[in-house]
Amino acid sequence: MGIYSVIGKNLEEVKDSLYHGRSGIIFDPVRKGMGFRSALTGMVERPALKSVLDRRMRVGLPVQGEYAYMATMEALKTAGIDQSFLDKHEVGILYGNDSSAVPVVDSVNILRTKKDTMMIGSGYIFQSMNSTVSMNLSVIFKLKGINFTVSGACASGSHAIGIGYLMIRQGLQQMIICGGAQEINPESTASFDALNAFSVRESEPTRASRPFDRDRDGLVPSGGAATIILESYESAMKRGATIYGEVAGYGFSSNGEHISLPNVDGPARAMEMSLKQAGIGSEYIDYINAHATSTPAGDSNEAMAIDLLFGKTRPLVTSTKSMTGHEMWMGGASEIIYSVLMMNNSFIAPNINLENPDQDSARLNIATATVEKDFQIFLSNSFGFGGTNSSLIVKKYTP
């Protein structure tokens, strides 16, 4: 596993932030100056790759690709995989990504100013496609297996892991680099800000993302990248690899309704399917990492869906978005890493800023402070525009 996040630039830093309930949200004056309704955002510094990657590799890499490179380097290291392994084996990549706004804006600006496509240069085409992350990383790491990007809105990273899981289960691949990346910049979120979807609690950035709280007023956009090395059990055993967890089930569904308004039925069906795929009953789930982004409609519908399936057993629920903000295309992958870090370190990170539940969240068993707890199985939800839903179930590995 590897992570480059607004709450830490590696697994150790992220684990510490999760444990202490630390927020990665800031007020960005640039956005205010540009005319944003909300200038709140998650923020992490851009990786310095000039001395790490040669020019050709950097020229086509947008900022979310840089985050993804950092996360993938850590993931390969913690998985005990070096370039010679990648050279000798058919390793694939399935990465979640659903935008690359800045290169599109910048290249079109050059064209409008210079009126000559030859002034755009060679990098923007590779930076601006949605498949930019899988495209670039597959070349940097010389990968020879499956190679494409999964675009499923805010469930992209989760679906990428789900599809990877299915491919490995089918025996088509032994190892796939899976993950999700999300650019952080005003250009990619301006049109989202236009939907009145973002919190305007600008005077208290770290208190703005408050999933399940009665007084939430919207989500806070964020970003970074998260990578997991998904591998068949046989391959991991053969290599003597450290196994962080086992993907046990993937469930998916589509709401079949509104483009942006969530419902209860779609998420409930995705969760049900993930349980069925994992071959377990709802009582086996110890912890749910909710999608809950801090929007009233989204949180309430998810709370109702969770209550529908888990109302009897009431597992602990939190939304790590209370700390990270909404990592969108990355979130489905990063939240698997956050939850695995908690599972392997016997704690559940707090759903910070939950002060007063509303009538739907009051029905859930939400941890508002860090809970020391050994647990074995968790479920992670990710939902997106268009009504796409993904639920993943991950088990602790016990030799």
Binding site: D54, R55, V59, D116, M118, M119, I120, G121, S122, G123
Partner: protein, 82 residues
């Protein structure tokens, strides 16, 4: 612009912008084989040359440009046609 200054500017741009090692910059070096300038780098050279010399390179004219000396000659000829 003096020919010598044109050559110095080209060398500086190759080092700073295309990140060619300074010690590789010798007139007899072949752009493709010795300096590793591929078709995508040429696209960037078009931009760099226009931004620094104010002239548009033409892809068809580059067919004859093999070595760094050829490239100097091509740019010199375009900057100082007489």
């Amino acid at each position: 612009m003096q020919n010598e200054d044109i050559i110095k500017t080209i060398n500086r741009l190759l080092v700073d912008e295309i990140e060619i090692d300074e010690e590789q910059i010798i007139p007899s070096a072949e752009l493709k084989h010795d300096l590793g300038i591929d078709s995508l780098d040429f696209v960037d050279l078009f931009v760099i040359i226009e931004n620094n010399f104010g002239l548009k390179m033409k892809a068809e004219e580059m067919a004859e440009v093999k070595t760094l000396q050829d490239f100097y000659n091509y740019i010199i000829q375009r900057v100082n046609p007489n």
